[in-house]
Amino acid sequence: MLVACSSDDSPTYVPTPAALNIPAFFDQSIPDPIIPTDNPLTEEGIALGRQLFFDPILSRDNSIACADCHRPENAFSDPRQFSVGITGDKGFRNSMPLQNLAWNFNLKFNWDGSASSLEDQMFGPVVNPVEMDNTWPNVERTLQDHPAYPLLFEQAFGNRNIDSTMVTKALSQFVRTLISGNSKFDRHLAGTAQLSESEERGLALYQDEAGGDCFHCHGLPATPLWTDNSFHNNGLDAVITDRGLGEFSGDPREFGLFRSPSLRNLAFTAPYMHDGRFATLEEVIDFYSEGLQFSETIDPLMKNVGQGGVQLTPEEKTDLIAFLLTLSEPEFTTNPAFQNPNQ
């Protein structure tokens, strides 16, 4: 919105406040989303963030965008085990889905908790040698020289002198709008969809401490996030090679701990685990049933480790997967507001 002229007659833009499109059940069951006071949502900020998210301009050679490793059709994750950076090098962790991140009350982002806010997180990939391999001064120069971006930044932040903080703020505003809350299970809770018998059995197993006992790390129907946003060693390896949270914190008690991902949109987010080692949900459930490995920091919540896990029958595995897939929302992956604005 162009609202006034300053003394030097240059236009002054005041961005239009925006609100998240929060599902009613979120509003009723969990605290308000976290919106930093120094980065309120605005229509212009969200639009700019969306533009930047899909623009390869942030990468050193203008070849990859955020959306290349966080693809809308994959619930903003990457179907490749490891994403490939501009040099062709691969990372060593699977790209996390981007959904409902405004409700990460722990304020620890990434698999290893190394970012303390979304804005903080956005600084990393741009300069990571195996991702965009750029420098922030170069990003700022490139955007500043662009024919369109200075005006977009001015409209979003009242300032056309682009800096890295403004870039990360805009990206964060867009990412906060990526809300998934209309899966079949959400509609079931709202009384507009019915679970099949298999899905019902899977839900019971999920909530059964003597069954799947999934809920202690991934939450219950009373909470729409389907993650505790906390960190666990879930028994993937007997020998820990990726220290995860412990690498960041330096605390040996946290070696091999990784953030619990949300169970939403599993239909679109394969492969699974922090290192993308499992290609299918079947492999994931087999792992929790029979594949657990003991290590010093394994979470006490992991049961029957000596026997490999919770020992589910084939029918139980089928039911559990059926339930888990009710947490997926195809419309989230095709929401027009979340797609590339240039297509």
């Binding site: 909530q207 401490e209 003597a210 006992d213 939450g219 619990s260 006490p300 049961k303 480790v305």
Partner: protein, 267 residues
């Protein structure tokens, strides 16, 4: 935090709960009334008298009454309805709650949202939620606290009272995880589900409250495994939430877990 309502007044009144966030502090004073003060509570934890600090977590350094070596990796518990009753039978309570997370040192200090006249009171609180407050999904902050503090509806819903987790050395010298989770007792073998309120009213005793008062509430973790039921982790170390009898015995052992610590300023 969504607060349960608030009230005070006389013994003849009951303490009810609702979600009225607008309820203010109960007592309105006039210029001739007594000085009203708030009271801080400081929660400390020990194992048979040895203070538990962050560095103790994940260390196989404790020995329970049954002789089993154990560690603690998580200790999170809920207290609610801190209440002050004076000699006239007047009751003061904010009816609010506090989730103590020992490892992360969060909420180790809590100030109930009520002010009271200086004087001598019998001070008590509820460990966990009593049935009146233990309403499924009612508290937004608890729905996401520590992941989710909720209890599955098939187990009666509501909220955990405590999550105590760690590892112990079993009878064949293996390191095994335990989950000592305390909830409202539920018997899934009956239809409908049989529920029993296993929260605990803890009476700290008579305490003189003055301005700036801080009351220490001590938790002795060892007591959960000791008295009157000697706890054998070899047989009961996991899947305790749906174990009705185990929850009843936790309730019995929990009667001596909490005690009054230091009160400052000393009177």
């Amino acid at each position: 935090m969504k607060k349960i309502a608030l009230l005070f007044i006389s013994i003849a009144l009951f303490v009810s709960c609702n979600s009225d966030d607008n309820a203010g502090n109960v007592i309105t004073d006039d210029t001739t009334g007594p000085t009203l003060v708030s009271v801080d509570f400081n929660f400390t934890q020990n194992f048979d008298g040895e203070n538990i600090v962050n560095a103790d977590f994940d260390e196989l350094k404790f020995t329970n009454e049954n002789g089993q070596t154990m560690s603690i990796s998580k200790l999170v518990y809920l207290i609610s309805d801190i209440t002050f009753e004076n000699s006239s039978g007047e009751v003061f309570t904010a009816g609010d709650y506090n989730l103590v997370d020992v490892r992360n040192t969060s909420n180790l200090t809590f100030t109930p949202d009520v002010t009271i006249p200086e004087g001598t009171y019998t001070v008590s609180f509820t460990y966990g939620f009593n049935d009146e407050d233990n309403v499924n999904g009612a508290y937004e902050d608890l729905n996401v606290a520590d992941g989710t503090w909720s209890v599955p509806e098939p187990l009666g819903g509501g909220y955990h009272y405590m999550r105590l987790e760690g590892k112990y050395i079993n009878s064949i010298n293996e390191e095994i995880g335990y989950q000592f989770h305390n909830v409202r007792a539920n018997d899934m073998s009956t239809t409908p589900l049989t529920l029993k309120d296993t929260s605990i009213e803890v009476i700290l005793g008579s305490i003189t409250i003055v301005d700036g008062a801080t009351i220490e509430v001590k938790m002795d973790v060892a007591e959960w495994f000791k008295n009157p039921n000697l706890w054998d982790l070899n047989t009961e170390f996991q899947m305790l939430m749906p174990n009705y009898d185990a929850q009843l015995r936790m309730n019995e052992n929990g009667q001596n877990v909490f005690s009054l610590g230091e009160v400052t300023p000393a009177i």
